[in-house]
Point group: C2
Chain length 318, copies 2
């Protein structure tokens, strides 16, 4: 298992990424404070380059390669924000990015990755299809594989958002983040617990992808459930690395229903007038549904991204 | 005809509204700069209280009443952002608001106005229905009627957004705003031409509601065309007051097609991750479609509001 990043790793990552990515704003919303009873501070990574926090980890990882490694390029498999982030970071460094993605990935995601100049390799729908093709690409190119979250460089990069949040909003009682594979909450927890030790970390995940909850109950990494959720960025399993960080630094994990996610997203759009993707709003959904209650507390909430096709919104589908 | 507000009136309005409304941020977007060739500075009134710049004029007008006038309340007829703004400003002052709106107005708009505590009077669909009921309400209540734009207090309030824009972004070459009844562009033009005389004003309106263009061609106020446009905030006719200000201070007016409006709106949502209503994006649509070209110029653009039902977006309908 790769090592757990330290606060020094996260600070070093910040020095790498801060000149290349946005220092995203922290927004507040009176109406949502009223509705939840908490004082919410939203770290708006939906305004980030590539439209998601993923560019932080990708940039840190790509720029941490030595020149020899870099010359052989980087590779990943993903059909989501991580793939686009790796493609853009590689473009910034002037190296090749190789991205394995399922043939059935949405056109908009293929276009985003291709638009940043990455080479795309289409695989079949199964995990095995993906693994086989990834191995082939790696052996042919010698590229460095960059996993979406099971990588200390990616986690340290993700942690820079939490670092900025603590700098911009002192004295937070709680920081909340969604949990998918666990990279964001891991980086956030490491950063926040180091710079603001009294601040409690709370993770939130969909009931339909309650992998962290089930790992915590089992006391070990268990296979991911593979159910559909509107929060499509949160369907990955924890890794041993992210689970060990979560177990150590995250006070609790709450789950929310699909309807609660959709309602929270609609409220953010309506009240804050910002575009967020469903994965972003899972922590707010937990507050709105009273699955976690933090009356009068100062709560930082990381809004992870804003990449959604506005022509297919969840409330349009229902 | 009521008098044209001066810059002193606008500064006085700013002193009234600044403690009650948001000083909205100015956002930039690299991708939209690339696509238009201009340097764009978006004044984000979509983040304003009530979700639109209308609260500026409403607040100024409501707080400019003397106590005796105020005690009899205020009235307006509108089914849009102005009605909600009057309702909220009246609530802040602790006086009654009487709003005449068509029975068929969308539920969401009725709810917004009712939610701020205004009394709603439902009228039939025609202008005559509305006038008759408005007269009745005014004579029964003695309330002060506050027109949505044909009123110097409303125009001076609207101008405070332009004032803030010029303070926050010096040396603008151009400021662009949409034109409906002409209240916003009038206030903007009066503010900008006073504090930044070299800055050029450009208005934009839908082809389907090209009232300003036709007034300028005719050299006088002509009846409004009554065609449908997705930019539903821009269907009102100019008044003699707003036309006279536009004629004096606005360098040019451009028109855009419905498709251009929808495409500009989609781009703002996708690239800036903010929620705007169609009326807001008409100036950007003019730039994107090359109907106005401002290469390398510093262009302030007022995004007027963000009140749209996310369940019925124009690109979902098509």
């Amino acid at each position: 298992m790769p090592g757990i990043p330290t606060i020094d790793d996260i600070r070093a990552a910040h020095a790498v990424v801060r000149t290349r990515v946005h220092r995203t704003p922290v927004l507040t919303c009176y109406a949502l404070d009223e509705m939840t009873g908490a004082n919410l501070f939203f770290k708006c990574e939906n305004f980030q380059k590539c439209g998601a926090f993923k560019i932080r980890g990708a940039t840190n990882a790509v720029f941490s390669l030595d020149d020899d490694q870099a010359s052989r390029g980087v590779a990943t498999h993903s059909s989501g924000n991580h793939a686009a982030a790796i493609a853009l970071a590689a473009k910034w460094r002037g190296i090749e990015a190789h991205v394995v993605m399922p043939e059935q990935a949405p056109e908009v995601k293929k276009n985003a990755v291709a638009g940043y100049g990455a080479r795309i390799y289409f695989c079949g729908p199964t995990a095995e299809d993906r693994e086989v093709l990834s191995e082939k690409v790696l052996s042919e190119t010698g590229a460095t594989f960059l996993h979406a979250y099971d990588d200390p460089r990616i986690i340290a990069g993700a942690g820079t958002a939490g670092l900025e949040l603590c700098e911009d909003v002192p004295d937070l009682d709680v920081v909340m983040a969604p949990i998918g594979g666990g990279g964001l909450i891991s980086g956030t927890a490491l950063a926040v617990s180091a710079v603001s030790p009294r601040t409690k970390l709370i993770g939130a995940e969909p009931e339909q992808a309650d992998n962290a909850t089930r790992c915590i109950e089992a006391g070990k990494v268990v296979p991911a459930s593979n159910r559909e959720t509107v929060a499509d960025g949160l369907r990955m399993p924890l890794s041993r690395l992210t689970f060990s960080i979560i177990r150590q630094h995250v006070a609790s994990v709450v789950t929310v229903s699909e309807m609660e996610i959709i309602e929270a997203m609609r409220l953010i759009w309506e009240r804050m007038k910002i575009v967020v993707e469903p994965s972003s709003v899972v922590p707010l959904a937990a507050l709105l549904s009273r699955r976690v209650q933090l009356p009068a507390q100062r709560v930082g909430v990381i809004l992870t991204g804003g990449n959604i096709d506005p022509a297919s919104l969840p409330w349009s589908r229902s």
